[in-house]
Symmetry: C2
């Protein structure tokens, strides 16, 4: 099965499990709405690609890791869109979860998605119990405090955020969790895969800053939010041209960071492909 | 070490880990504030008591389970107090987390506490890897959708909530997770401990309804919220006297449900003690 289908199937299985006759109906609907249809699924695809590059000897646990990574990402989107953060009425071209189901259900949906992510891992863990603790530890580190995406969001409430810690936590941490958990799921050493996650995370952050700055409505998200909310951004620091150069350098660095393994060549191709999809379309065209 | 000290030490270790120089300072402060000083710590004490009754052969994993249960409970309190739910300015006699640190940090603190709970289990899991998957699965079921406390809260957004499902999820689920995870942490069969969790959860719900109704300010929480928010309640259904009789019957049922084990006698004593602390003080006096 191609990676994209595996990701969708794993997510479907997770969401279906929460949607039973005993479930509160609005929450069950909101959970499905928050996960489907998805965006590019960059993080879970990356996780599965690393698992494959490392042999993927237990596909069920790789699938669970990929699903967990994406469910954590979806949870963060639902919570980030809430009125007390971005107050975003839309996401991926449709009403945000709280616009659709109200703030209480959106808040609970985010919580439930975090728990669902972990439950996925526990359910799959039986096939490889020794991998479960490092897998959950790695994903928890990418999400929680002090280094994960929740901490990253919390830096926005600080009067003087530490910019590097902010970016690493806000975006880098979940990319690191994606590459490292892919390796752990396949029984490989996760350490050598950290750099790839870090570099792609940094690239993604720069791409996101660019996207925000160039007033594109492609992703269905209100634009110019960084400037509006006075958030630190690569574009504010380096200008659009400088940020684009930085993005290209990070992508080359990411390609070079793929550790020696059976599937290294495929992995490098995937990194380039992912990177091409990162850059805002107008800029990719003008830079071509 | 007595149970209460073990619970506090386990929670301290969890919170300390999120409070490093690299952590966003407000979030780190809010996490500590949300966990300390605590309430009665009923759920983690119950979890540890069951672990002891089952032999407690791996205290580190029992401590982690107890801490995880309480951290999940703290997360739910922080989120339940937010403006879109109870809009509670105070909790346990001091400003609620969002009153103190603002809504964004409170929302993130709840998220971080959920992740912290799971990370605790993963960190301790190395000593007994085969117990980790059922432990995490059991606690996740007590928290998430469709049956956990998050689902319980979501029933409050339904026009016609299923009362039994609502109460089981809102309160019972985490008590069930507490007793069952205590057994699993000690390598015992969790099944026989489900009834104790269910019954104590039901008793706690009735006690909470009574507390809310009798306008007590003991717990530092605004009172009469159930009636105010038109939430289903045992008092609304059975009156105060009826609810008190129901509470007493549930406590007897809980005592009877303790399964045969080495520490059964101690366990029954603890259940009675917990129950005595459940009933609102004025009612306990008037019923004495």
């Amino acid at each position: 099965m191609v990676l994209a289908s595996r990701v969708e199937a794993a997510l479907q299985a997770a969401v279906d499990r929460a949607d039973t006759p005993a479930a509160p109906p609005l929450l069950a609907k909101a959970l499905r709405y928050a996960v489907f249809p998805g965006g590019a699924r960059v993080r879970p695809m990356l996780c599965l690609a690393v698992a494959q590059a490392c042999g993927d000897d237990q596909p069920a646990i790789s699938d669970a890791a990929a699903a967990a990574i994406e469910l954590m990402h979806c949870a963060s989107l639902v919570h980030d869109d809430l009125p007390c953060f971005d107050n975003a009425a839309t996401r991926r071209g449709k009403p945000s979860v709280h616009s659709m189901y109200g703030e209480p259900i959106a808040l609970l949906a985010g919580d439930a998605l975090i728990v669902m992510a972990i439950e996925r891992l526990a359910l799959a863990g039986a096939v490889a119990p020794l991998r479960l603790a490092p897998l959950i530890g790695t994903i928890a580190r990418g999400v929680g405090a002090p280094h994960g995406i929740v901490a990253g969001q919390a830096w926005e409430s600080e009067p003087n955020p530490e910019l590097e810690l902010y970016h690493q936590a806000k975006t880098g941490a979940l990319f690191v969790a994606a590459t490292m958990s892919g390796a752990i799921a396949a029984g490989a050493d996760a350490g050598p895969w950290r750099a790839l996650g870090e570099t792609l995370g940094a690239a993604y952050q720069v791409a996101d800053d660019l996207l925000d700055a160039v007033q594109s409505a492609e992703c269905g998200k209100p634009v110019g939010q960084d400037a509006l909310l006075e958030r630190p951004s690569a574009v504010a620091t380096h200008g659009i041209k400088g940020a684009l150069a930085q993005l290209n350098a990070l992508v080359e660095q990411a390609v070079d960071s793929v550790p020696p393994c059976e599937g290294a060549q495929d992995m490098r191709a995937l990194v380039r492909l992912t990177a091409m999809r990162l850059a805002p379309k107008q800029l990719a065209r003008s830079a071509a």
